[in-house]
């Protein structure tokens, strides 16, 4: 599905990603772990084209490095940014509408607005409230739903459980599995291990700008050194 080879990225002159390579298979959940500030979000942004990528990014074999973010999105990559990046002045419904790639729902779409409201009943009640008024957790959910409305084939989810209550964290885990079941690949960026270990097929651990571990959750559990050195556990 997605194949990243020797990816570099820069903010001005600071070299953030220093040769990152990995791939994500069809319908697979891959988690990208690491401490604060190692460059996980930057990886997502580089794939989207929001930060200019240097290196090769292939989606279903097609090179997408150098494309504009909206072009990447149209090719089927969805990105759920961190920090509750909702449009505060628009209503919940309008936020979701903006997630769609075309003005009207297409027949083949995997998700409809009703699906979203079913999954998160909080949002349904608030459908016509401006998103800025939502609670922190609700904003987090909205961000995710909005991206799904665009019917991506691969979603990159950046810290989706931030600020969610324990119950809600579980709900998100369930949702992610449901997403994968519908044949969508997931690149999950997380800091907390709990759900990553539970739902992902493979784990990636990032050090300063490059990957320091790649393997199954089981292998990860066995590798104490990586956990100590690269994660705060």
């Amino acid at each position: 599905m997605l194949q990243v080879t020797d990816l570099h990225a820069y903010y001005g002159k600071s070299h953030i990603l220093r040769g990152v390579s990995f791939d994500v298979g069809e319908g697979e959940i891959v988690s990208l772990l690491g401490r604060n500030g190692v460059g996980r979000s930057t990886t997502c942004k580089a794939i989207m084209g929001e930060v200019p990528p240097v290196g090769s990014i292939r989606l279903r074999g097609q090179e997408i490095a150098g494309l504009k973010p909206h072009q990447v999105a149209h090719l089927g990559i969805g990105y759920v940014p961190e920090n509750r990046d909702i449009f505060p002045t628009l209503t919940v419904r309008q936020n979701l509408i903006l997630g769609m790639k075309s003005a009207k729902p297409k027949p083949g779409d995997r998700w409809s607005m009703d699906d979203m409201f079913e999954l998160f009943s909080n949002l349904k009640e608030r459908a016509d409230v401006v998103a800025g008024a939502l609670s922190g957790g609700e904003q987090q959910m909205l961000t995710m739903c909005r991206t799904l409305m665009g019917d991506p084939d691969l979603v990159m989810v950046d810290e989706p459980t931030e600020g969610l209550s324990p119950l809600m964290v579980e709900k998100v885990a369930v949702l992610l599995e449901e997403i994968a079941r519908r044949g969508i690949s997931i690149l999950l960026v997380e800091q907390k291990l709990t759900i990553a270990l539970k739902i992902s097929q493979r784990l990636l651990v990032m050090g300063h700008g490059h990957l320091v571990f790649e393997g199954t959750p089981a292998a990860f559990a066995a590798d104490d050194q990586v956990r100590r050195e690269w994660l705060e556990v």
Binding site: G12, K13, N36, G37
Partner: protein
């Protein structure tokens, strides 16, 4: 990046990491030392000296007149920046306080002349200021309720209303003729009756210095600092105990006071006030002065006032296209120097501090000739085009840069075109090198963008 440091440092109490003196004490001292007024004294002293010797350098009547106009504009633009730069309030009607302060000053001047009021002339600007304040208080009481577009639009509405009133209420505003007075009628001050321009100059210079000083100090007071805070985040200011509305109101009133003072200076210098002094054009000019100079800097509006006054009074005598040039300057400034002319200079601060100005000087040196060629070419084209456009038979001569060019022949056009195209091309080619030199000189990653 430093998020990890935060964690460990957060646990550290007022630790004495630097030895005898705790670190926080050093920071506090440092802050106080850097913010000390003493440190700016040399600048004020230099300003004083410059103001004193200017009339010796430019002694012609018109030179002094232009400097007087500059002084008035400086006070006015600084007062405007109290709103826009410091308080984040975009006003389209600041001329209201300038004009009303000025009109009332002229009326007071007339009372001095005819009704025997006693008022030495140097105090008149303060009277103007008080009137500016007197109008700012009621208007500010409702317009500062909100910031942003609401404030901007109210200021526009009020500006239009007052400008309209100035035509309707002839008894007060004197209609189209305006109101005139005579500054020499007050009691003499130190033997001066302010008959000559130079005497007026020194009066204005003194007031400019005093007003600028007070406006500078205002920005360092709690009220001034909170104006900044409210500009940045009005909601948060409410949660540290400040009423955003009242903070804006205080800035607004102070700004009205100084605008009125500038109006008083205008009354002294020109001895007449007319409708143009409080209409929207004047309000627009002061916005431009502040912005072109740079609203993010205290000296920004001063620079803007000087440059724009020069453009308006000097350039306009050399070309009838001056407004076109001013328009181009505005647009280019906003596009390429959004922090104003002062920002353009301040940008070079890091290079200066690290002593790497040399790198830049070389790069700039290489660009000077193409730049001049380009500018010359463009100006020539415009001026010749203007002459060619006007159908005056037998007058096909354009006078530019002291040259006389015949626009009915091909040669000058070719030369101008070559200059513009060649200069422009060379500049485009040089641009990456300039950018690179800049990045190297300032040592900033990505500073070029």
């Amino acid at each position: 990046m430093s998020a990890t440091e935060t964690g460990s440092a957060a646990t550290g109490k007022s630790g004495d990491r630097t030895g005898a003196e705790p670190a926080w004490k050093r920071v506090a001292d440092d802050q106080m030392r850097r913010g000390a007024f003493r440190r700016t004294l040399p600048v004020w002293g230099a300003a004083f000296v410059v103001l004193m010797i200017m009339p010796l350098l430019f002694s012609s009547a018109v030179g002094v007149t232009i400097m007087n106009q500059m002084g008035i504009s400086i006070v006015f633009a600084l007062s405007y920046n109290m709103l826009l730069g410091q308080g984040g309030m975009l006003s389209f009607g600041h001329a209201v306080y300038f004009g009303l302060g000025g009109f009332l000053s002229v009326h007071v001047m007339n009372y001095v002349e005819y009704d025997g009021w006693w008022l030495p002339l140097p105090l008149l600007p303060f009277v103007g200021g008080l009137f500016g304040l007197a109008f700012a208080v009621p208007i500010g009481s409702f317009s500062t309720r909100r910031a942003g577009t609401v404030f901007a639009m109210i200021s526009l509405g009020v500006g239009e209303l007052v400008a309209a009133c100035s035509i309707i209420f002839v008894a007060f505003f004197g209609g189209e003729e305006g109101v005139s007075g005579d500054r020499t009628m007050g009691p003499p001050v130190f033997g001066s009756e302010f008959l000559s321009e130079v005497e007026v100059y020194y009066l204005i210079a003194g007031i400019v210095l005093v007003a600028a000083l007070f406006m500078y100090l205002f920005s360092r007071t709690p009220a001034g600092r909170m104006a900044n805070a409210v500009r940045d985040n009005e909601e948060r200011a409410e949660f540290v105990g400040y009423s955003q509305r009242y903070v804006r109101f205080v800035s607004f009133c102070a700004s009205g006071f100084f605008a009125g003072m500038a109006g008083g200076l205008f009354a002294i210098n020109y001895e007449i006030l007319t409708e143009e002094n409080l209409n929207l054009v004047t309000s627009g000019w002061v916005l431009l002065m502040a912005f072109i100079g740079g609203v993010g800097f205290f000296v920004g509006p001063i620079v803007g006032a000087i440059v724009l006054t020069l453009l308006q009074t000097v350039l306009s005598n050399h070309t009838e296209l001056w407004q076109l040039y001013v328009g181009i300057l505005f647009v280019l400034t906003v596009m390429y120097a959004p922090r104003g002319l002062t920002g353009l200079v301040a940008m070079h601060g890091p290079a200066l501090r690290t002593g790497r100005l040399g790198i830049l000087a070389r790069a700039y040196g290489a660009a000077v000739v193409p730049l001049l060629a380009f500018l010359a070419g463009v100006v020539l084209l415009l001026e010749m085009g203007n002459v060619a456009n006007q159908s005056v038979v037998g007058e096909s001569e354009a006078h530019v840069f002291g040259l006389t060019l015949d626009v009915s022949t091909v040669a000058p056009w070719l030369v101008a075109l070559a200059l513009a195209a060649g200069g422009g091309y060379a500049l485009v080619r040089l641009a990456p090198r300039l950018r690179d030199a800049f990045a190297r000189a300032t040592g900033q990653a990505g500073a070029a963008s």
